[in-house]
């Protein structure tokens, strides 16, 4: 199978779905003429024209809300936010409009909208470097995906575009250049709501999200050399969340660590902890451990950023503690 980058996989998904379905449109800041600040959408305007691929003014409320309006009236808009952090700028349109329009109107309309959200700390500081998935897991009506590799980036984006509900698609900035094998089948889809077992094992369950997955796999390699074969689970979708995948793994291992780039309080790990308390307490023989950002904003200077972002060493130490 051919090997391409995560960024190329995203672009392939966009191009294939736009060729397949004329109701798919793509817009956002600097996406058309410039090809996006992360260069994901270069050449799309040339292929699909200015009606389907266009630049917007700096008006996140208007253009994300317009995505909802366009979705209600028969299009499948893919809206690019320059940074995932701007979800907070357009919170009304995301939480109250995209998430609630269908419900509040008794199911009269569907909202097939995808919002692409480049996420993750990359030396860009508090308002451009977050992984804010957990904030939106709390909001009813939104589906949320965070692919960790090129194949999932493609398959999840294609599924998101074909989905009849709003999807927040988190693409981690530090994963753009990572490479992986990606099928070239134009109907290659990764279903929403289905976790992947990134590494099988029975010593401990390590749940890792987005850019934490490659770090978790490195930790698994290191622990394997020490004789501990851990299981790495990549949820891929945070809403719907594949609860059975985690519970099945914990039944086998009895131990769980969650590594995420969210703030610790009420992060993804907190929800997993609550879920285990409800449904799997009897299988746990050690307490849950979370590796997350201590509850501070993400600082800009590399030395400070690296102190707060979970890294291999922190994940390794959390696993070691439970394996001791």
């Amino acid at each position: 199978m051919r090997t391409i980058t995560y960024a190329q996989a995203i672009k392939e998904a966009l191009v294939e779905e736009m060729r397949r379905d004329p109701t798919v449109i793509l817009y956002g800041e600097d996406v058309a003429n410039f090809g996006g600040i992360f260069r994901i959408t270069s050449g799309l305007k040339e292929e699909f024209g200015d009606e389907r691929v266009f630049d917007t003014p700096i008006s996140e409320n208007a253009f994300v809300g317009a995505g909802v309006g366009a979705a209600l009236t028969g299009l499948r808009p893919v809206v690019e936010l320059q940074f995932a952090d701007f979800l907070f700028t357009t919170g009304d349109e995301i939480v109250l409009k995209a998430g609630m329009w269908r419900y509040a109107h008794g199911g009269a309309y569907k909202v097939p909208l995808v919002v692409r959200c480049p996420s993750g700390a990359a030396g860009v500081g508090p308002e451009h470097g977050q992984c804010p998935e957990a904030f939106f897991m709390h909001a009813p009506g939104l589906k949320i995906v965070s692919p960790s590799n090129a194949a999932d980036a493609k398959g999840l984006l294609k599924s998101a575009i074909r989905e009849d509900n709003p999807v927040l698609y988190f693409e981690h900035k530090l994963l753009y250049a990572t490479k992986g094998e990606v099928p070239d089948d134009p109907d290659y889809l990764v279903p929403l709501g289905k976790a992947a077992i990134a590494r099988e094992g029975d010593a401990l369950t390590l749940v890792a999200i987005s850019a934490m997955v490659p770090k978790a796999l490195a930790v698994a390699d290191r622990l394997a050399k020490e004789g501990h074969h851990i299981e790495v689970i990549d949820p891929r979708s945070l809403c719907p969340f594949d609860r059975p995948a985690i519970i099945e793994s914990v039944k086998k291992t009895g131990k769980i660590v969650v590594a995420e780039e969210s703030y610790r309080t009420l992060g993804v790990g907190a929800e997993i902890g609550a879920m285990l308390m409800e449904d799997a307490l009897e299988y746990l023989d050690r307490p849950l451990r979370r590796v997350a950002i201590p509850d501070v904003p993400i600082p800009t200077a590399a030395i400070l950023e690296q102190f707060v972002i979970p890294n291999e060493e922190k994940i390794y130490q959390a696993c070691r503690e439970l394996l001791a």
Binding site: F54, A66, L72, T73, E93, H105, G106, G107
Partner: protein, 317 residues
Amino acid sequence: MDRNLKLLIYRNMIVSRRLEERIAELIKAGQVGGFMHPGVGQEALQCAAIAGLRPDDYLLYAHRGVAYWVARGIPLEKVLCDLAGREGGTNRGKGGVMRVVYPELGVLGESGTLGGCFPIATGAGLSIKVKGGDQAVLVFFGDGTSNRGTFHESLNLCAVRKLPVVFLCENNGWAVSMPTERSTAVRDIADRAKGYAIPGVVVDGNDPEKVFDAVGEALKRARSGAGPSLIEAKTYRLWGHWIGDPDTYRSREEVEKQWRRDPIPAFEARLAGEGLLNDAMRDEIDREARAKIDRAIEFMQKQSFPPPESALEDLFA
């Protein structure tokens, strides 16, 4: 404006006024628990503007009364069932009377947050343009809502993309207890159109013919691909902000003076002067309206409430 159209607008104004009077009675008697923002005094502009729409156009109404739905032709019993939170309405108890929805006639629903309507309208305009149609979007909003940031963002985006959206401001002078002159830096909200290089016109919102003409012009412009327009219809909210509003923030003199500008008797006098309406016809239109409303209320009262567990439905398609 042709005779039948004038009488249609008049009939819709009467049905709307009578319906709100009945709804106020039902609410005060505790027979329905809905949260209703009456539009008494603003029916002329609402009915006249909607009379200019085609069935395939899109409508985003504001929260000010029932006339939008009456004028668009949504069955009254459905509106009443939504108000009462019963089955038989348009939104299965999920959104109440502020979320009346009717896809068959392009009634997209309502944003609960004021100003949330503008981006939605922009998106509907985008759909029309991408699909190459000649429909238009009509979005109503109040003077207070014109101070939301979404107003600026959406007008600008519609103007640069030349989207077929007509922005119709119902300036009734008050945003709950805040008078427009204290909330809004410009005297005429239509002046804001200059900031987007689009037409901005002020019309007497209590004159249905002037509103119909102004909206007609803007719809024509939208359908031709020339882009959005902003219309400001000056009117007045004769009742409180909601049914039950103590309305202590306005002087009685001001409100009484405005009752003398009530658009209904004014339009009646004009139609009578043109030989289109006489006392017998007026009484007949009124009787018909009341009978229609009685039937709708009777229907609503027979509907059951939705099963409680249906609260868990309708989230995802």
